[in-house]
């Protein structure tokens, strides 16, 4: 959903290994980032998302591959010569300067006249909603305020690209939600490319035009939040983006899959006959119905109230199924699990070890 086809950043076959390690942090990454795009690099810690950001910022140099800015190779351009600014994970504000001087730092370096600096700092403080804080010292600010100063300090330089490294990680939930909306607004208003790093899948889905899911130094999937959520390419993505029921299955032929001891109609095709696959069904796509021969039956194991919905774990055909339902169920009750062919997502077996984060009863299937 990029607003323009113009590529501003291109990563081409980038690989990198840290000096004191054998396994690569990044393994042959290729990624295009467009003008005015809000791109989120999403993945668990150690997946290489921060390293990717540091390469774009100039704080890390890839061993192999090229980094292009507007088509020009900038691998060896030092950070202070790049038209990129960064909001660091722990803000990294200058403790010896007050709010005004922090925000003015970059403008003073580039010798902007003081009068213009004054005006631009004032505008920026207004955007981040901190007018009147000019003379405050940094340690007088709350985490949320420091975070907004860090954003103002970067944005005031009119960068072509703003890099954000888990900028909301230290904030509490309510403030984080507010800042997500705020950041998205700022990005649209100033029409700047944002490259955002997070491990929070909800944050990624809320804010991004494009989500890049990474794991173990490799890109798993690039797509819009809807694509990533509805059409995950493998079990890792499906599991990382929201809770999922991931089950081993066998593709009998196009549009017919076997799992949990039954054959089901589905909408996916293009697999080999009898190919082993992963079947993903989202917890909110499953409806609890009275037990019958028409549906998959199971025993309710646990029921947990989650606010908006109940999380119900059902043991069916030796697998634990997670169901999100607005109606509760009784533990021990035999129920039916109902879902439509559209709710069944078929994915090629991933080579990655199975993730056991949400599927509790993995031992039984092995």
């Amino acid at each position: 959903m990029s607003n323009s086809k113009n590529k501003i950043i291109e990563l081409k076959n980038v690989s990198m290994t840290f000096r004191d390690s054998d396994t690569p942090v990044l393994n042959n990454i290729s990624l295009d980032i467009h003008d005015n795009e809000f791109v989120t690099l999403l993945g668990p810690s150690g997946c290489g998302k921060t390293t990717t950001l540091r390469i774009i910022g100039g704080f890390a140099t890839p061993d192999k591959g090229d980094l292009l800015f507007n088509g020009k190779r900038i691998n060896d351009v030092p950070p202070y010569k790049r038209q990129v600014n960064t909001v660091f994970q722990k803000y990294a504000l200058f403790p010896h300067l007050n709010v005004y001087d922090n925000v003015a730092f970059g403008l003073r370096i580039s010798k902007v006249p003081e009068k213009e600096i004054k005006q631009r700092v004032a505008e920026m403080l207004e955007i981040v909603d901190l007018e009147g804080f000019e003379r405050r010292s940094i340690d007088q600010l709350s985490g949320g305020q420091q975070q907004r100063i860090a954003i103002a300090r970067a944005l005031v330089n009119n960068p072509k690209i703003l890099l954000l490294d888990e900028p909301l990680g230290a904030l509490d939930l309510k403030l984080r939600k507010e800042m997500q909306i705020e950041l998205k607004k700022i990005q649209q208003r100033m029409s700047i490319t944002f490259v955002y790093v997070t491990h929070d899948q909800e944050e990624a889905l809320t804010m991004s035009d494009t989500v890049v899911v990474m794991n173990k130094g490799e890109i798993q999937q690039i797509g819009t939040p809807q694509d990533i959520y509805n059409e995950p390419v493998n079990a890792f993505v499906a599991d990382f983006i929201g809770e999922s029921n991931i089950l081993p299955g066998i593709m009998h032929r196009d549009y017919l899959v076997e799992f949990a001891g039954n054959n089901f109609d589905c909408v996916d095709g293009g697999f080999d006959e009898m190919e082993p696959v992963d079947v993903v069904i989202r917890p909110e796509d499953i409806t609890i119905v009275p037990a019958s021969d028409e549906v998959l039956n199971g025993v309710v194991e646990t029921v947990t109230f989650k606010g908006v919905h109940y999380e119900i774990v059902v043991n069916a055909y030796s697998d634990y199924w997670i169901v999100h339902s607005t109606k509760s169920a009784n533990v021990g009750e035999v129920v039916g699990l109902s879902f439509t062919p559209e709710d069944i997502h078929i994915m090629k077996k991933s080579e990655m070890p199975k993730i056991t984060r949400y599927t509790v009863g993995q031992g039984e299937e092995a």
Partner: protein, 307 residues
């Protein structure tokens, strides 16, 4: 502090009173008093009269009819003024040594704080190592190095340079100060620089600052407290040293420390004057420290101008 645990500090209080407050008071008393001779009738005698009387009675069985009374006087403090050149010379040499320590120590401390921790420990060890040896021994070693036919001149002689007069010069005294007090500059700087986050430096680079400006606008301002305490920790012992100047300066370059030493343990025995010089030196050091403290506290007000 909790009321019940306050007593834990009492040994320290006792220590302070016995070894800090009492000596300070004594120095004050000595500095502002003189011993004046009187005869037995209570008439004030001049120093000449007193020594005449002592000479006259020497060797006889009779008691010398001279009593000394301690009276308040400004004379000691006034007398210190004639030693002002010595004080200024000491301060000058200590200042040069302090500045050179800062110039040498600052980059060492900075690099030390940026390398990986195992190297940091090694460098720290190398800096501390000479300090494990006796101070006198270290200074003696420099004597044998700097002598007319010492090691340095001998080695220079092999390539046909020299010999140079190195020992018994002010330069040798400054060298001794630098050598002995350099660790006291490096260590406080290092501990302050350790607290400068790498991301703070990266943030400055990110905002367009090259290496030089990262240094002048971020690293130096953030290390000001270390600079202030390093300067204090080198300047204060350097300005009052007497061993270094005696051994490497050969007694030709008397420092204020030597002068005090002479009044207590030397030929010029006069504890009252010695105490007065100490007191003036103390006041001078306090003045210098308050200036360096400005350096530390002042940076918040100064930063606007620095940028």
């Amino acid at each position: 502090m909790n009321k019940n645990t306050k007593w834990v500090a009492s040994p320290y209080l006792l220590w302070m009173v016995v070894f800090v407050i009492v000596p300070l008071v004594l120095i004050g008393v000595f500095a502002f008093t003189v011993n004046v001779p009187y005869d037995l009738e209570g008439n004030r005698l001049t120093e000449e009269q007193a020594s005449e009387l002592k000479l006259a009675y020497e060797g006889t069985d009779e008691e010398i009819p001279v009593v000394y009374k301690t009276v308040f006087s400004w004379n000691n403090i006034i007398a210190v003024s004639q030693y002002l050149p010595v004080l200024l010379n000491s301060a000058w040499l200590a200042l040069i040594a302090t500045l050179i320590c800062l110039v040498i120590g600052y980059p060492i401390a900075y690099l030390m704080s940026r390398v990986n921790p195992s190297y940091q420990r090694l460098i720290q060890m190398l800096i501390m190592l000479p300090m494990w040896m006796n101070f006198l021994l270290r200074t003696y070693a420099w004597m044998t190095l700097l002598e007319k036919n010492g090691w340095i001149n001998r080695i220079l002689g092999l390539v046909g340079i020299g010999p140079f007069d190195m020992i018994n010069t002010q330069g040798a005294v400054v060298l001794g100060m630098i050598y002995n007090y350099l660790p006291f500059m490096i260590l406080p700087l290092y501990s302050v620089m350790l607290k400068i986050q790498n991301t703070t430096i990266e943030a400055a680079q990110d905002l367009g600052a090259g290496n030089i400006r990262v240094f002048t606008k971020v690293v130096i301002p953030l290390s000001m407290p270390g600079i202030a305490s390093g300067i204090t920790m080198v300047f204060v012992p350097a300005v009052s040293t007497f061993i270094i100047s005696r051994m490497l300066g050969g007694g030709t370059n008397m420092l204020i420390g030597d002068l005090i030493d002479l009044q207590f343990l030397g030929n010029a025995y006069n504890p009252n004057l010695g105490a007065a010089i100490s007191l003036v030196l103390m006041a001078f050091i306090l003045l210098c420290m308050s200036i360096t403290n400005q350096l530390d506290n002042g940076d918040e007000e100064m930063e606007g101008k620095m940028l």
